[in-house]
């Protein structure tokens, strides 16, 4: 057996030399005089080993400088002593629980955990890139679980709406093809290399799928024999027992991923229902104005200003009882 040290750098330093270098660093850190600096320079020049120790010390300092103020202490400040068996156990727990969901920074961080949950608040949207390269956009009030195994890439849609663009899965460790599946309460949607939108309807027990590229295959949970392939450009609703007739996909079905709500002669009641998905609290539309039609592209990031602008184009009044209780009513209805 032989030890190989490819880097001369790795050669151990003499302890006394390392101590001297450390002492110089401490001395020059605060209130050093020109004489101190000159003396340190002489020490460095006196022996190549001194200089090597000095360079290592500089690298240690440089590492500290990479860490922005306020960031390092929370990460390194605790002293951690861990016995080895405990670490293996702890690792398992950490993996299963995943990191605390909703870290801002995890939004674009590739997934390493085998299962983990992500959710968005009402009015929030978020993009994720999964470990296999799949892009997932989460619309408002959405909750998903990601469960990747050696045989399957599964995404569980618990609530809300997602836009999925499946990735190549190039770093798959098992080397065999792993199907990509979205599971809702009503059944499974298998992606056939593709881009599609899945929405878990909140008021009815139904899932809506709109296919933008390629195709998906739907399997209702209680009627697995009734599989159906939905090609690009089509959309379908399904329940646990049946799949509705496919129809042409709404061209604006994925607009929300750019923060836009598109309406083309949309009923005001439907518009209000759509808008209320992006708002906390109650948004009511008076039946007297429910059938008015509205057209336009609306920025979802500020639903208050969308509401405020409604009276400019429609004969309506927007009544705020509180910030969270808003009614769209007919204009004459509010005349005093």
């Amino acid at each position: 057996m032989s030890a190989i040290h490819p880097f001369d750098e790795a050669r151990p330093l003499d302890r006394a030399v390392a101590r001297e270098a450390a002492e110089w660093l401490v001395q020059l850190h605060e209130g050093a005089t020109a004489a101190d600096v000159a003396a340190c320079d002489r020490w460095r020049a006196a022996d190549p080993e001194h200089e090597r120790a000095w360079q290592r010390a500089q690298r240690v300092n440089a590492k500290f400088r990479v860490v922005p103020p306020g960031v390092g202490m929370p990460a390194l400040g605790r002293e951690v002593r861990m016995d080895r068996r405990a670490a293996l156990k702890a690792l398992t727990v950490l993996l299963v629980a995943g990191p605390a969901a909703g870290y801002l920074a995890y939004r674009e961080t590739p997934w390493r955990e085998w299962i983990s949950g992500e959710r968005t608040a009402t009015g929030e949207r978020r993009s994720l890139v999964l470990a296999d390269g799949t892009h997932v956009d989460l619309n408002t009030a959405t909750a998903i679980d990601v469960a990747f195994s050696a045989t399957e890439r599964r995404l569980i849609l618990n609530a809300g709406e997602i836009l999925v663009e499946t990735g190549p899965d190039a770093h798959n460790p098992s080397a065999s093809y792993r199907p990509f599946v979205v599971q809702t309460r009503q059944g499974r949607i298998r992606a056939l290399g593709t881009r599609f939108v899945v929405r878990q309807e909140s008021d009815e027990p139904a899932t809506r799928v709109a296919v933008l590229e390629s195709a998906v295959e739907i399997t209702p949970a209680a009627a697995p024999q009734d599989q159906r392939v939905i090609p690009a450009g089509q959309q379908a609703r399904f329940t646990a027992t049946r799949i509705g007739m496919p129809e042409p996909a709404d061209a604006h079905v994925a607009d929300w991923s750019h923060g836009v709500l598109f309406a083309d002669r949309m009923r005001l009641a439907d518009f209000a229902a759509e808008l209320s998905r992006y708002r906390t609290g109650l948004l009511r539309c008076d039946p007297a104005v429910a059938d008015l039609r509205i057209t336009g592209a609306f920025q979802l990031d500020n639903t208050d200003s969308i509401l405020a602008a409604l009276p400019d184009t429609l004969p309506v009044h927007v009544a705020y009882r509180t910030r969270y209780w808003v009614s769209i009513v007919a204009q004459e209805g509010v005349s005093r």
């Binding site: 057996m1 032989s2 030890a3 190989i4 880097f7 750098e9 790795a10 151990p12 330093l13 302890r15 390392a18 270098a21 450390a22 002492e23 401490v26 850190h29 605060e30 120790a53 010390a57 690298r59 240690v60 300092n61 590492k63 500290f64 990479v66 860490v67 922005p68 103020p69 306020g70 960031v71 390092g72 202490m73 929370p74 990460a75 390194l76 400040g77 002293e79 951690v80 080895r84 670490a87 293996l88 702890a90 690792l91 398992t92 950490l94 993996l95 299963v96 990191p99 870290y103 801002l104 920074a105 674009e108 961080t109 390493r112 955990e113 085998w114 470990a131 990747f148 050696a150 460790p173």
Partner: protein
């Protein structure tokens, strides 16, 4: 390539074909997931190659699991550090949030520093961190740790000496 290196490669190759499947299964059972098990099994062999030593044949599995456990601990620490760091920056508005590259660089630096610092005595470690990360003066550190300024200087010097001495520390 020297004869010693060739012999080592040969030994590691045998070690791989004899035990890789077993090691992967062992890791997978303990970690509960295939990705990390595959990564760590691979890294274990890389580590054996880098160490320049192959174990005695009858000691192979104990040797491999010992390395693998060490790597699992490193991974666990890395995730803890990553999580703590992400938690800290999560409070930043998204416009100020660091880019993915910056985040990766900072996490890398934190992990390296953690590996260097974990063997320091508590006081020396604390003094060094307060000095380098929080930018406190020796006097401020002395007040915080309730020791004299000359003790602080001693703590920091001994911490720096250990960092400088560390053979695997910061070769980049």
């Amino acid at each position: 390539m020297s004869a010693a290196e060739l012999a080592l490669q040969q030994e590691v190759q045998t070690l791989y074909s004899d035990h890789h499947g077993w090691l992967y299964g062992w890791l997978r059972k303990r970690l509960g997931n295939a990705f990390d098990a595959a990564d760590l099994a691979h890294d274990t062999y890389v580590r054996v190659l880098a160490s320049g030593q192959a174990p005695q044949p009858d000691d192979s599995r104990r040797y491999l699991t010992q390395i693998a456990k060490g790597l699992a601990i490193d991974l666990y620490r890395r995730r803890q550090i990553e999580a703590a760091y992400l938690e800290t920056i999560a409070v930043l508005a998204s416009a100020e949030a660091p880019s993915e590259e910056t985040r990766a660089m900072v996490v890398e630096a934190l992990v390296e520093l953690d590996a260097l610092l974990h063997r320091l005595p508590a006081k020396a470690r604390q003094a060094l961190l307060l000095c380098k990360l929080d930018g406190l003066s020796y006097r401020e550190i002395a007040q915080q740790l309730k020791v004299s300024v000359s003790s602080v200087e001693k703590y920091i010097a001994s911490a720096l000496r250990i960092c400088i001495e560390a053979r695997n520390g910061l070769l980049g």
